[in-house]
């Protein structure tokens, strides 16, 4: 059988072997923890605590600030020390709650449900639990999950796709989660399926994770609504549009939602969080996190308390062999380079990568030779070299005519460019300008 995939894409060096076989270890933070109020797409959460309050692990710090928003919970017990703007991984200053950890980890009361009790829950009740638990797209996008799971016509949803592709190099947090918490993933999927009577659950796994496929297969054989889709290992296989294409052969563009193609895509961590929220009554407090890179002494997978600083996690991985040259939040293809790692982790940060040599900025940019490698690599069927030129020259209308707004910013074009041109960066910049223009026009 031919493996499912998409057109275009690239094959970066995987680097997953560094942390692939390191079991998930809980990391207990020691210092203060920082909770930015905006860890998701949509309205920032609204504060409900004030300085001096004593909070428990799992206590709500801020409630959802609207429908497209999510509440934020404390991941440790302690005292609210400060409420002020703090720097986050993207470099922005975001209003945050700072909590002094008392190292007790005393937890709030969570309502655990037995299997029978869960069976009796209706779709709306499950959705309510997801909403209250503050679950957002934990693969990186941070779109509130309860919004994603309430499409206009739930009966028209035919596929719930679990994004188990983890196509970014170096990252192994999803891999470890699938291997170690397979049951959470499968049961979480079953919970989501309860809301969609006509949907099938598909686990999309790249074929470099055959052990994951075996694990999942052993748990889903008794349920004919669940299946596995084996995907070709290729970047960006885990891109939402690429994954939908690989699994269902349906295509969506930037103006459509997956629901328009009858699909909902959720990341491994998100689906596991659904399990935690419904069965254990636990909100999003922890997440699985990879710390890796060629010169990290002990690359590892941690279960971190959200809000722990990146620096503390790096120290827990025994630090570096040489001084760092580049520090990335997320994967090497789409992650953000940080200038300071004393910033908090959030619901959506899945990795810290540290490189002691910065390969990408060593290269010198030369003239475009029109070779078309970016065209072959682009999973969105664009002409990146031209879009980059239109961006440099500021011609917005032609940029749009050549479908520039369809770019998913996966980085494949810059990755292959033999002239080392910053194609992705140029396109991103222009996209932002045009989208801002459009927003202003609406106002």
């Amino acid at each position: 059988m031919a493996l499912h995939s998409f057109k275009g894409g690239v094959h970066p060096q995987e680097g997953k072997e560094l942390s692939k076989d390191k079991p998930i270890k809980e990391l207990q933070p020691s210092g203060e923890l920082v909770y930015p109020l905006s860890q998701h797409i949509g309205a920032p959460a609204k504060l409900i605590v004030s300085v001096g309050d004593v909070v428990k692990r799992g206590q709500m710090l801020a409630e959802a600030g609207g429908f497209v928003s999510a509440p934020i919970y404390s991941s440790v017990s302690g005292t609210v020390k400060e409420i002020s703007p703090r720097r986050v991984a993207t470099g922005d200053m975001v209003m945050s709650v700072v909590i002094e950890n008392d190292n007790e980890y005393s937890e709030a009361d969570f309502e655990e449900l037995s299997h029978d009790q869960v069976e009796k829950l209706t779709g709306e009740q499950i959705l309510e639990k997801i909403k209250n638990a503050g679950i957002v797209g934990m693969g990186g996008a941070g779109f509130p999950t309860h919004v994603k799971l309430s499409p206009k016509n739930p009966e028209k949803i035919e596929y719930i796709i679990a994004n188990c592709a983890e196509c970014e190099p170096y990252l192994t947090s999803d891999y470890r989660a699938i291997i170690e918490y397979t049951e959470k993933l499968v049961e979480g999927m079953k919970l989501i399926l309860k809301m969609f009577p006509n949907a099938k659950g598909v686990f999309g796994v790249e074929n470099n994770k055959l052990d994951c496929i075996e694990k999942i297969r052993s748990l889903i054989s008794d349920d004919n609504r669940l299946s596995i889709c084996e995907l070709l290992t290729k970047y960006p296989q885990g891109g939402e549009r690429q994954l939908i294409h690989a699994v269902t052969d349906r295509d969506i563009n930037s103006k459509m939602l997956p629901a328009d193609a009858g699909c909902i895509v959720d990341n491994v961590a998100t689906i596991s969080a659904v399990y935690d929220a419904v069965y254990l009554g636990r909100p999003v407090m922890d997440r699985i996190f990879t710390v890796s890179g060629d010169d990290v002494v002990e690359p590892r997978n941690f279960s971190i308390h959200i809000g722990t600083s990146f620096k503390e996690i790096l120290n827990a991985a025994e630090g570096l062999k040489k001084p760092a040259a580049k520090m990335i939040s997320g994967g090497p293809m789409m992650g953000f380079a940080m200038f300071d790692i004393d910033v908090p982790t959030t619901k959506t940060t899945s990795a810290l990568l540290v490189f002691t040599e910065d390969e990408a900025s060593k290269y010198e940019t030369t003239a475009c030779i029109n070779c078309g490698r970016c065209v072959e690599a682009c999973p969105e069927n664009l002409i990146p070299s031209r879009l980059s030129k239109y961006s440099e020259n500021g011609v917005k209308d032609i940029f749009e005519e050549w479908y520039g707004l369809e770019c998913i910013e996966c980085g494949s074009c810059s990755f292959v460019c033999p002239a080392r041109r910053p194609l992705t960066q140029d396109i991103k910049t222009m996209k932002k300008q045009i989208l801002t223009d459009k927003k202003n026009q609406k106002k």
Binding site: R241, D251, M334, F339, E406
Partner: protein, 322 residues
């Protein structure tokens, strides 16, 4: 952490292939034809190739210096141009022909338009056409084994019979690099396997040309004639190594196929209805000029775009919002 931390936009990793590596692979792919040419035509051919390469590289270095630009010789693109130009010359030309040709290719066709990536015409072919028009006598007299003789393609046009096997092997009169189909194909297969070129342009070019010859060649469905037409002249060299020049061919996949078709038709017209037996060089530089137009009409639809967003749609959207 003493050293400064780098902050750049993603992606933070890159593939190994750079422009220089691509140029090296192109040079390697031209080696079979070059070596064969030198064996076939003798040391004079080697001199022509070297002079041509030297002239191109020197012109680029001097131009960079005069224009106070960064020296770009190390990307090896001038070497490729020089080699291609040399392969497009008869080995009998005087020493100044490759020198003048190299200067024209690099200075006039490439550097005046802004250097690598900016020229709208293939530099080597631009220079060849310049030389053909300026030094017609030298550029069109060929010899083989010391005997002046017409190229097989010219013989074919004159209605004489030619030896197709010799044309395939290349033991016949012609420019240094165009004669041996087998040597050229070895290089072409190498380029395709290394992922440097794809078959869109060569296949549509040769395919269209073949159909054109069958329809208008005046020989009906004469397969021998067809094979001889394809093996003759600069078609194989042109189709795999010159028409596929990145800079002067369309970047859109559909555009590349159309480009090949245009080339096939033009080559057919020039060869069959024109005064000269040759037509590849003119066809390619003419089609080079059509590239912006071809690209304009072949912008591929982005992934998931079913139809053009029409005004009706946006009105509907607005209505829905209201």
């Amino acid at each position: 952490m003493s050293d400064l931390i780098h902050v750049t936009s993603s992606p933070h990793v890159r593939e190994n292939t750079d422009t220089k590596r691509i140029m090296i692979l192109v040079i390697i792919s031209l080696l079979p034809a070059s070596i064969f040419g030198v064996f076939n035509f003798g040391p004079k051919a080697l001199l022509v190739l070297l002079l041509s390469i030297f002239s191109c590289v020197a012109t680029e270095a001097i131009t960079d210096k005069c224009l106070k630009k960064k020296n770009t010789v190390s990307d090896l693109s001038a070497v490729v141009t020089g080699l291609l130009l040399g392969l497009n010359l008869p080995h009998t030309v005087s020493w100044f022909i490759p020198v003048v040709g190299g200067f024209f290719a690099i200075f006039v066709v490439k550097m005046l338009f802004g250097g690598l990536g900016q020229n709208f015409m293939n530099p080597a072919l631009g220079a060849r056409c310049f030389l053909l028009l300026s030094f017609t006598q030298q550029m069109t007299s060929f010899s083989y084994d010391g005997v002046t003789s017409a190229t097989p393609l010219a013989q074919l046009k004159a209605g004489e019979s030619v030896d197709a096997l010799k044309m395939f092997l290349g033991t016949e009169a012609g420019t240094i690099g165009e004669t041996s189909v087998i040597a050229l194909l070895i290089g072409a297969i190498f380029l395709i396997l290394m992922g440097i070129i794809n078959l869109r342009i060569p296949a549509s070019y040769i395919g269209t040309f073949a159909i054109f010859v069958l329809l208008f060649g005046g020989h009906g469905f004469d397969w021998t004639f067809l094979v001889e037409e394809i093996c003759g002249g600069g078609l194989i060299l042109g189709a795999f190594f010159m028409a596929t020049d990145y800079v002067t061919s369309p970047i859109t996949p559909k555009g590349q196929i159309i480009f090949g078709i245009v080339l096939g038709i033009l080559t057919g017209i020039f060869r069959i209805f024109g005064a000269s037996a040759e037509g590849v060089s003119y066809a390619i530089i003419f089609a080079n000029c059509l590239v912006p137009l071809i690209e304009k009409f072949t912008v591929p639809k982005a992934f998931g775009i079913v139809r053009e967003p029409s005004k009706k749609d946006s009105k509907l959207e607005e209505g829905a919002k209201a």
